[in-house]
Symmetry: C2
Subunit: 350 residues, 2 copies
């Protein structure tokens, strides 16, 4: 088969809908970022939020990995705290640490600091970036819009900085469920506004990042997290763009994350892809090469890449990706070789 | 029922064998440690390895939580790098960081630095501590012996310090499988020697800590990790003491971790206990309260504690524990209340 001329026929969009595609689509979470020398050259040492706030820079960063790797999608260069930062909640992304909140969300009074997010006013640079990227990508490569899921954004706002245990977040979820639900509802509205603006500007798929949802047991996720994520997916449904739902360490949550309203469920490397597919019947899957394995020599990476393809057994509805984001220490040459291998050997006829 | 007079009838040992007990046994991983003021008063600022090297101090630390909480077992105060440190591999435990290795294990030449561990010569203080503790505990409370599993110890020796991705470890596993297997075999022998010495001195159960095995997918675990852990369990079998196997994030590995030869499989909080039991047929289970939830007010902790008991439905073969270790910020009063609740409401008649 040959490359189609229409965006709707792009492998990523067809796979996301569970349809056969002319090749297995592949992209990498955090493909735009510190592993690329051209990114480091462009970014320098400033805050990532400054780079995101500059459409020319941000569009260029978004496009760099598409050029280098020939991946089947761009993903908007962004950060899950962009909307919260844009409404002035007081959050920055500190190099070497991650999101840091000056005054973390701790009580009901903090709700007043979470006013509705108005993308066109609060962060017009996001739509500008999307437009620049979509223009440049042309008719065959989709741009994936980007938003943080309510739980994961809330965990940053509450903990104040990256956490390994989410103790303050879990305490609030259980001790003050009404406050928690209100917080998540507001963050859901924020994600909805952000995603709709990105779609309006030309994004043709979206990914909701609930990176740390895997810290929760299924009953807690279902009761206190899933409703807010489901609200986001439901609000996007009318646009018709495919919805990807991602988290790490989510083996026990895969079914629920699909049921929340995703078309595609992300799978990290802990769950073999054949087993993951059985947990999300009727959904497409995205994953699931271990990013850490990409530090090994190429024959090892090739073997593990083939293992992922083999476990999918050529079924339609597979978007090849890493199980988590590209880490800064990965060799772009290895990632390029993964893309080529998936394109050469992947098939969607099974 | 009332407390039995013989150690073999201790609830923990009966539960570990899948037998009904007069109460549901409970203990906490890392129950001896920084969450206890009496521990901080005793320890001061020295290296944990110095405290472990002093039998009087180490025995006292091991006993502190038994006195305070009334838990059903003591666990030897130790660290998974104790044998490697004792043979002079060059590893220390740095406060606020964790195990740090001066010259990490990187090539075949490093095997020469891993000579056999001889507990009576290299670390006589371990057996001395065990004897002091067992004397003090008397006839009704068992002491659980402690060893790091080959994979998790190897990850520290290779990475050189705590890692989130285990990239160097995974690269070696796959790129140099012969070297990796030899390394794990030596670490298995080290764990065996350590555990047999502890049992010889009076430990009446053992736990093999493979804390980070959950970073691996099942096929990799089965091929490159499980054989070494199975060697450890097989070597302990003849002693007749129950064998507990623990890791975190191991939902996909539970069956294999049981099949490695454990009598009891540890379960973190991500897998509901009823589902976990189905994955380890014929085995006892240990867990699975989320330690982070213990930062919440007591009614929340009580509800989640009852949920664990409810999911076990009174079946014999449940050792109540946290899903991971006690963190320094936990209130000992909450943990004491958990012990009391489990003892009051837990049952093993279902």
């Amino acid at each position: 088969m040959t490359a189609p001329a229409a965006l709707a026929d792009a492998p990523l969009l067809r796979a996301a809908r569970g349809l056969p595609a002319w090749r297995v689509p592949v992209w990498f979470m955090r493909q735009a970022g510190r592993s690329l020398p051209e990114y480091r050259a462009l970014r320098g040492d400033g805050s990532i939020l400054d780079a995101i706030g500059d459409p020319a820079t941000s569009a260029e960063i978004t496009l760099q990995p598409v050029r280098r790797y020939g991946v089947d999608a761009a993903i908007l260069f962004s950060d899950i705290v962009v909307p919260a930062a844009a409404i002035g909640f007081g959050v920055d992304v500190v190099p070497g640490i991650g999101p840091v909140v000056t005054d973390p969300f701790r009580t009901k009074a903090d709700l007043a600091r979470l006013r509705p997010y108005e993308p066109a006013i609060d962060a017009p640079y996001v739509q500008d970036t999307v437009r620049l990227v979509v223009d440049e990508l042309g008719a065959t490569t989709p741009l994936i819009g980007f938003a943080g899921a309510p739980f994961t954004v809330a965990s940053y706002l509450i903990e104040g900085r990256p956490s390994r245990t989410y103790g303050l977040t879990k305490a609030m979820m259980h001790a003050e469920p009404d406050l928690w639900r209100e917080l998540l509802d507001r963050l859901a509205d924020m994600a909805i506004a952000s995603l709709l603006a990105q779609i309006d500007a030309g994004a043709s798929a979206i990914q909701l990042f609930d990176s740390w949802a895997g810290a929760l047991p299924p009953d807690v996720y279902e009761d206190l997290v899933m409703p807010a994520s489901a609200k986001v997916f439901a609000a996007i449904e009318a646009t018709g763009v495919p919805r990807i739902h991602f988290g790490v360490g989510t083996g026990e949550l895969l079914t629920l994350m699909g049921d929340a309203g995703a078309d595609v469920v992300g799978v990290d490397w802990r769950v073999p892809l054949d087993i993951a597919r059985a947990r999300v019947p009727g959904k497409a899957v995205q994953g699931n090469l271990d990013p850490a394995i990409c530090l090994a020599p190429w024959p090892v990476v090739a073997e593990r890449t083939r293992d992922v393809l083999l476990r999918n057994a050529g079924r339609p509805g597979h978007i090849f990706n890493l199980g988590h984001g590209v880490t800064p220490d990965l060799d772009p040459g290895i990632l390029k070789a993964v893309v080529d291998l998936v394109h050469e050997e992947g098939r969607t006829d099974g």
